[in-house]
Symmetry: C2
Subunit: 210 residues, 2 copies
DNA sequence: TAGTCAATATAGACACCGTCAATTTAGCTA
DNA sequence: TAGCTAAATTGACGGTGTCTATATTGACTA
């Protein structure tokens, strides 16, 4: 007999997870309270402790699953990218940007180190996998530059994350790039591509904005 | 007679502000509660409402003051920077990085759009002033590129903010750049400088493809 | 000097929250 | 069927923000 459908309310752990994700999308991390999740799941406020030790554990589970989603998106994108090109920049950037704009509250939660358990080994592992994928691609397309591949990896991730974070915090109004006419996020990707040395063709492509 | 030192506990508004900043540095935004601030100020939990409408107003006041500090640092740095050079990149980046590493909890609060009042006109004004300073410098040192100056401004700010945010969230371990031997944040500044025309041959070349 | 009054501070209440402890329930198994 | 154990309930505790009614203060006025 599977773990599911065993007790009073069936697979409560799954229900709690789904409800929590729903509440997150609706009202942000602030709205994901143990009591609200229990209420929404039709269960007493003390029930969740049997499945998630505390609020931190619940939020950590949410974050873990979302990083796994992002990892999958990145892996899928890279699997169809041609080697040697710097399509990986777009793959990685759009994976984050699309996710962030589609699920702003989920994205914000990813970086709430004060609410989740950063020591969770599964969480670290998933994050490392994403980072390693990024580094692998840099290594392949940037054999030797004056920059450490980690610096390029951190630089790209930082720029994308910073842009998303500021946008999702409502800190500034997004306008299109006045030169290329592209949305700002696309212009930022082009900007970053300029840092890639061997990409004369790519650079030309990036700059050939009409 | 000034507003200060007028009632029961003297300039309570000032005391509340100072205590709140202290609590912020100690325990992050989570630790800045109306009741804790009142307790620390030796006053009843209902007293603060006379000076800050609610918690959001108190936190917004903190954020406002910190952005003003950053603006001052940027202005001072720019006042001694030679025109036409790329020094503004360092001035802007180090203003944020130094502030963030010195006061991590203050920095994190700056971007907690869910805790503060983003509509506050004084707050928007200070943020706009910082952004405009940045754009002015870009305009002066990058007369004509394929990129909108706003894209360069957003790109720099996003990269610095993203790096700081990830570092302060405890999301990754900082290592030195293996090529230059510099700390990662310094390497990121160098990375960004490559986008500026008068620095290296690579980007001058790229920009020449206009 | 006595009186007025608005600004300020207090104290209590309410509805939340997370978490803990004691208790009851449900489902499996021996 | 009896017993065992995981799961769920219930109630409590201390914390939070914010709202009320009440009391105090201090500055100005008559």
């Amino acid at each position: 007999m599977s773990k599911a459908k065993k007790f009073h309310h069936g697979d409560l752990k799954r229900v709690l997870f789904d409800v929590a994700l729903q509440l997150l999308d609706r009202g942000g991390a602030e709205g994901v309270t143990i009591r609200a999740v229990a209420r929404e799941a039709g269960v007493s406020h003390g029930a969740p402790v049997n499945h998630y030790r505390d609020r931190e554990a619940l939020l950590t589970a949410l974050v873990k699953s979302q990083f796994e989603t992002i990892l999958n998106t990145v892996e899928e994108g890279l699997s169809v990218a041609s080697a040697g090109s710097n399509v990986w920049i777009e793959v990685f950037a759009t994976a984050l940007l699309d996710f962030g704009f589609q699920y702003p509250h989920r994205y914000k939660l990813l970086w709430r180190g004060d609410l989740i358990n950063l020591q969770d080994p599964e969480l670290s592992k998933t994050m490392d996998q994403i980072y390693d994928k990024l580094c692998d691609e840099i290594e392949r397309s940037l054999p030797a530059t004056k920059f450490d591949r980690d610096t390029v990896a951190v630089g790209l991730w930082a720029m994308i994350h910073g842009y998303l974070d500021m946008r999702l915090s409502g800190m500034f109004v997004p306008l299109d790039d006045k030169v290329s006419g592209k949305p700002r996020d696309a212009a930022l990707i082009d900007l970053f591509k300029m840092l890639m040395p061997q990409a004369d063709s790519v650079k030309a492509d990036a700059l050939a904005t009409k």
